[in-house]
């Protein structure tokens, strides 16, 4: 899966915006939005929020978790624990990136948040690599991956799955004639 597709999925998350225009309710296929009144917060999907922001028609209210104190807590917990700690949003990385790139003027301490999220990401991806390594060396057949986000899975998907498949192929081909070996024959 392409990272841009993960980003695409994250864009349907809901954020609050404060519009500076007024508009009736919009009846979208995916649900109703609005009504929009200047100064009154309203919830919209991220894709619309970014579009309105680019046209300078709104101010984006950063999500609760996008806050230096909260992120520091999360980072510390992530570093402390060996397993993946719960994360405030399943799309934290994508949303941070999108919102900071397009609406950094609406987010207090944008630079600090960027660094913190990057720290959290690095810690988690390091854990992911470690566990992928032990998964392969122990030749496990099942792993539980709670709290892992789609983007994190996606960074390792191709590499991990392909190597597992190749190893499986090599292993089954050691017993020629087995049914599994034949189906792997390419």
């Amino acid at each position: 899966m392409d990272p841009s597709e993960v980003e695409f999925l994250s864009e349907k998350e809901i954020v609050t915006i404060i519009p500076n225009f007024s508009l009736d309710k919009i009846y979208l296929i995916g649900g109703d939005l609005g009504p929009f009144n200047p100064g009154l917060p309203v919830e919209v999907p991220v894709w619309l929020a970014l579009n309105l922001k680019q046209r300078q028609k709104c101010r984006i209210v950063p999500p609760d978790w996008m806050d230096v104190v909260k992120l520091e807590e999360i980072r510390d917990q992530e570093r402390k624990e060996e397993t993946f700690a719960p994360i405030p949003s399943p799309y934290y990385m994508e949303l941070t990136k999108l919102l900071l790139n397009h609406a950094s003027d609406n987010i207090p301490k944008a630079d600090e948040i960027r660094t913190l999220v990057k720290d959290i990401w690095d810690t988690r991806v390091a854990k992911l690599r470690l566990s992928a390594d032990s998964f392969i060396s122990l030749q496990e057949a099942h792993a539980k991956l709670d709290n892992l986000t789609l983007m994190e899975i996606n960074t390792t998907r191709m590499f991990l799955l392909d190597s597992l498949n190749y190893m499986y192929k090599l292993r089954t081909n050691m017993h020629p004639g087995s049914d599994a070996a034949r189906s792997q024959d390419y």
Partner: protein
């Protein structure tokens, strides 16, 4: 989705009533309401069609129960009243429809084999899109609302075409096996391929064979002039690992060992948990919708 509807009955009914209240109150918003009504009407009719094919008996049974409800509907919807019997008990809202499409998209993207075709969903989404586009043509240019609608349409269209494209890619990759599977399915079972996909696979097979013949095979010695497509093209590798998220709790899923020294064991899949395991083990759960590939 047809089996699950009796539960959703009241929800759909409320939803419809809400719609009607909106319809009654506005004349300024009349055009928006018309769009909304058209959308509802479209859902009704497309579901009637699919259900007529499948479950005629159950349809008529629930029809009589829901006829009473549909009679209370406003005049604007009266011509659709007999369809609403279906709508009320098995139809998702358009938002749920889109969510279903996204699920199907991800499952198709990550599963090594071709999954059952969701032509019902695809058709509904297509009709939604065409309909919304028709409505948008009547709107004057530069309307803010129209641009939002257009953006949403583009997003849905992207998912839809990505879904269909990934199916076609799989067909191209494994076409002889897919056709073989389609041939061997039991009489009356629904095909994994939509009619268009079936035509595509057939044509692809014929074209590949012609191509191989024209380019190489006819120059070969006579005893080497045939190619067994089933052996020449790789089978889908059902033993690949997949990432998945559990939507309905499952117990006692057998995990086969990787090596001979290990023993097989069972795991319970808790709702909401995420796992990495072989596709073969959980393939039936993907088909039933109990797990979502991620």
């Amino acid at each position: 989705m047809i089996g699950t509807m009796p539960d959703t009955e009241t929800g759909e009914e409320n939803c419809m009533e809400e719609n009607l209240q909106r319809v009654r109150k506005g004349d300024v918003k009349a055009s928006v309401h018309r769009m909304e009504i058209d959308r509802i009407r479209f859902v009704l009719s497309s579901y009637l069609r699919s259900r007529l094919q499948k479950q005629y008996e159950e349809r008529t049974r629930i029809y009589y129960i829901l006829l009473a409800i549909s009679q209370t509907m406003s005049d604007e919807l009266s011509e659709a009243s007999d369809l609403s019997a279906d709508d009320n008990q098995d139809v998702m809202t358009p938002a749920e429809l889109i969510a279903k499409l996204e699920e199907a998209w991800l499952n198709e993207k990550f599963s090594p084999e071709l999954l059952e075709n969701k032509s019902e969903i695809v058709e509904c989404v297509m009709e939604q899109l065409t309909h919304m586009e028709e409505n948008l043509q009547r709107v004057r240019k530069g309307d803010v609302k129209a641009s939002v609608h257009r953006m949403e349409i583009d997003r849905i269209r992207f998912v839809l075409s990505s879904y269909l494209r990934s199916r076609l890619q799989k067909i191209e990759k494994h076409f002889p096996h897919i056709l073989e599977k389609d041939k061997s399915r039991a009489e009356g079972d629904p095909s994994f391929l939509s009619p268009q996909e079936f035509a595509f696979a057939k044509e692809y097979l014929a074209n590949t064979e012609t191509y191989l013949k024209a380019v190489a095979l006819r120059h070969m010695p006579p005893n080497l002039q045939t190619v067994d497509m089933l052996k020449a093209v790789p089978e889908p590798c059902l033993d690949s690992f997949v990432f998945l998220r559990v939507k309905e709790r499952q117990e006692n899923i057998l995990v086969e060992p990787e090596t001979d020294e290990q023993r097989e064991y069972v795991v319970d899949l808790e709702e909401g948990s995420q796992h990495l395991m072989r596709y073969r083990t959980i393939a039936p759960l993907v088909a039933s919708g109990a797990v979502q590939l991620i």
